[in-house]
């Protein structure tokens, strides 16, 4: 069955420093991959997605992610973080239909909590 692993539960980064959040997936076919951000008390907001084509995808708020099939990874990056980037970040993959993924339902990793140091 498809799954998503985010190996880092917490990451602390200094403001202005670069960021990379890791995501590994398990999927039988070409995956549809997503990164979402969740601020405290809020719903999830889509940062970017990968379906096919160029393996480097650009998203909102200066984020980008690179799909690497050989490593089953879809890591999120940002060259310079801002204090407002502090949040919970979730990687997600579209469920296969046999796993209840009709209508493009998603399954998510456990999330990475990003802390920004001044």
């Amino acid at each position: 069955a498809q799954s998503v692993t985010q190996p880092d539960i917490h990451i602390t980064v200094s403001e202005g420093a670069s960021l990379e959040l890791r995501c590994n997936y398990s999927y039988g076919a070409t995956p549809y991959l997503f990164w979402y951000v969740q601020s405290p008390g809020q719903g999830l907001q889509l940062l970017l997605k990968y379906f096919s084509g160029d393996t480097l995808v650009q998203g909102i708020k200066g984020f980008e992610a690179e799909f690497k099939r050989s490593q089953s990874s879809f890591n999120l990056r940002k060259p310079s973080v801002h204090w407002s980037d502090a949040a919970e970040y979730f990687c997600a993959v579209k469920l296969e239909e046999r796993s209840g993924g009709g209508a493009d339902g998603l399954t998510f990793g456990k999330g990475t909590h990003l802390i920004i140091q001044p």
């Binding site: 979402y36 999830l44 979730f90 209840g100 998510f108 456990k110």
Partner: protein, 113 residues
């Protein structure tokens, strides 16, 4: 434009009680979803709907029921609440098969004691 709204924001239930979590979207989206987020875990899909009158099970449907009588509303029903259903519940919607982005509501935090 409110997007996806959920009520209530918080609720405490006793074991065996029932309740309905409400979800409404004003974007005229055909596809709607219910997810649960257990502490320290990612979201799991409970049920989804591709339009009024059509619903289907997701990854973790046991203990829940849904209905979709209108395009706007997609309520989630817990009939016999159990401690294992303590979670944060998120409703989401998207336009249809040709659109990519799911829009999420703010969530309902449910505790079953």
């Amino acid at each position: 434009n409110a997007g996806v709204t959920q009520t209530p924001k918080f609720r405490i239930l006793k074991i065996g009680q029932s309740m309905t979590l409400q979800c409404t979207q004003d974007m005229n989206h055909n596809y709607m979803y219910w997810y649960r987020q257990d502490p320290g875990m990612g979201l799991k899909l409970i049920y989804y709907s591709v339009g009024a009158g059509i619903t289907d099970k997701g990854e973790v449907p046991n203990g829940y029921n849904v209905s979709r009588s209108t395009t706007e509303d997609f309520p989630l029903r817990l009939e016999l609440a159990a401690p294992s259903q303590t979670s944060v519940y998120f409703c989401a919607s998207k336009g249809g098969p040709s659109t990519d982005t799911q829009y999420f509501g703010p969530g309902t935090r449910l505790t079953v004691l």
